[in-house]
Assembly symmetry: C2
Homo-oligomer: 389 residues x 2
């Protein structure tokens, strides 16, 4: 087990009706805020009205910035920064999924910074301070409600880049599983793939002696595998929705990665796909992860066999562990397929004309590698994309 | 799953050599502190010197209060409160195990309170503020390094009572598994029993639909079961020590209890035993828990069967689940025994002369019940103590 520091200060408020607490929680931080959300879905479901009522009852004044898209854009972030500066706003309430939260976090770090906020995403500058952010979550997927991360897409060149800094842990995350009843099945499935991926990025590690976190990861994955089909079959199954929602947060609050090297190559590769083709991040991960696994599993056949046995209940083949390992990968692919997700670029109607371009961007023209379980150069990323065809 | 709020702000600094960071972490909160510890063991091992050096290097002035005993006493707490008031001290650094930390927390809530600090432990007063506390942990057991709880024994009547308040989450917990190499095996075993108990108090619940937390609990228990024998066989097995230490914290940082009713009857009953007989808390739990289980398992045979199958790898008897449930309880008892712990009052050389007195104190003369999986009145507690004979 490696040395580590673990701290996650976000207050999680979980359960039925909890969105009504948004105003009171917000009031602890500010009297005037930016209410940040996506399209019209929160107006259709009535969530917008509930949150607005709760803000008014708490005496919180708000300005609105809507229009956050999946793969949230830098241009809207810059608009948000301007509004906050002009209006003296010191708190952002994000109502939505990972894209809205990530956009809110980007505004939060951008407001007190004199340069271009994109500097933080390219590593050109380091975050020193940020406005506080609160969250009412509508999509369990990104884990951004209690993570120190934000991913933004720069339309100028379609670069999708991530930022991680302790300054952007949300102050609170309000999680009501009922708010996810109206998610289309495809979006629920994409969320599940994203959560699985957050766990698998941590699970496949070269660090030895990580029994507790291995088992915690397995607990999260088994819970998802059991509950995702229930939520798709009956979107109003509270219990299934609650299991998925709580798993999404725990999967990405850093606990599962304590003491171990994490990988994140599949996320890096997926960012190039959804950066160019604008498909859902979860769908991209369902395509990339099985291909990545096939490319790297020989690095640690026993770890992949453990994944197959403990997570997928595959019988261990004592005389051919590699067969067990491969069965686990196949099970994962079948699971994603059963949820209605693409598991190849072809399934997502992406041809092979830009594989080289994606491999090139992902590795900054072969000047850096991605991942740590196996360090992947441009050719390796290209080969994985080819396996994903 | 029940509605819940989850927040745990403690910063965990885990791994080899981390005790050297005690000074720098402390300096963030205060220039003058109370250094609180137990007997001479931290002087023998050299930990005292390391911490003192690190405090001096960070420019932190300190006064010392040593002498914390297992089942920490109210009288020493009151001494600590006086010192802090007189010397204007605003931070307490606890170096030790759960007893030292709990004692430090009691001092921390007592300093700013005008009444008797025991009021907080009897429920007569509510904590409104507390001094910040930091921890260098030497015994993985109580989980107090990142919990909002403290248990103190009042020598006047030998009452052992607990306090839970968000004000006493430690600011930081420094956890170096190497510091546990010198623990006597019996103390390691007592710690493991305490950690198991913290998980089991949460695991045995009447709340339905708690799959993620069930599985997280099972992950923790399996990790303990695998690593405790290794640590006893080879006290310098870093990996086993690290798994036990990290499990001890995660087991009691509230995550495993999210969304579920917890029990805590076994802790309440045990407090009466160790309050009177001054045996180690973990040893008392190893005695009480199997007896409690035998008394309550019919409340939910399937939950006890799940415990047997998933935690102890017992084969499920589809035609007689009760047999499976009982096998799980037997396995737990065998495990505690194999660690060298008492599993009956007789093993601990406690006769049956004061069972009635303990049952009486535990239930405030039969005016309240303990536990929630099954609510236990005085007679029920007496019956459990009788089963533990």
């Amino acid at each position: 087990m490696n040395n580590f520091i673990f701290q996650n200060p976000t207050k999680i408020i979980f359960g039925k009706g909890t969105e009504k607490l948004a105003g009171a929680e917000t009031k602890k931080y500010a009297d005037k805020i930016l209410l940040h959300y996506g399209g019209g879905s929160i107006k259709k479901t009535g969530l917008y009205d509930t949150v607005v009522k709760s803000l008014k009852e708490a005496g919180v004044e708000f300005l609105e910035l809507s229009g956050v898209q999946p793969n949230p854009r830098l241009s809207l972030v810059q608009q948000g920064i301007e509004i906050c500066r002009k209006e003296g706003i010191r708190f952002i309430l994000a109502v939505g999924g990972g894209s809205v939260i990530d956009s809110a976090k980007a505004i939060a770090v951008g407001v007190p910074y004199e340069g271009n906020v994109w500097d933080f995403y390219t590593g050109k500058a380091e975050v020193k301070e940020a406005l506080p952010v609160g969250v009412v979550l509508t999509i369990p997927a990104a884990g951004s409600e209690s993570s120190p991360s934000s991913v933004i897409t720069n339309e100028d060149g379609w670069y999708k880049r991530g930022l991680t800094t302790d300054h952007i842990f949300p102050k609170f995350g309000i999680l009501n599983p009922e708010l996810t009843y109206t998610l289309p099945n495809y979006q629920t499935a994409c969320g599940v793939a994203d959560i699985m991926a957050h766990i698998m990025e941590r699970y496949f590690t070269n660090t030895n002696d990580v029994e507790l976190t291995d088992r915690l990861c397995e607990a999260g994955m088994k819970t998802l595998i059991n509950n995702a089909p229930k939520a798709l079959a009956n979107p109003q199954d509270y219990s299934a929705r609650a299991e998925i929602m709580w798993t999404s947060t725990v999967a990405h609050n850093n606990l599962f990665g304590t003491g171990r090297e994490e990988d994140w190559a599949s996320h890096d590769i997926e960012h190039e796909i959804s950066g160019i083709y604008d498909i859902a991040h979860g769908a991209g991960l369902a395509i990339v992860f099985p291909a990545w696994m096939k490319y790297v599993y020989k690095q640690d056949v026993q770890r992949f066999a453990q994944f197959a046995v403990r997570v997928w209940d595959v019988d261990y083949n004592f005389f051919n562990p590699e067969e067990t390992a491969l069965k686990g990968i196949e099970k994962l692919k079948e699971f994603f397929s059963s949820l209605g997700l693409p598991v190849s670029l072809k399934d997502a109607e992406i041809d092979d004309s830009r594989l080289e371009e994606m491999a090139d961007k992902c590795t900054a023209s072969d000047t850096k590698t991605v991942g740590s379980f196996v360090k992947l150069n441009k050719q390796a990323v290209y080969d994985i994309l080819t396996l994903a065809k």
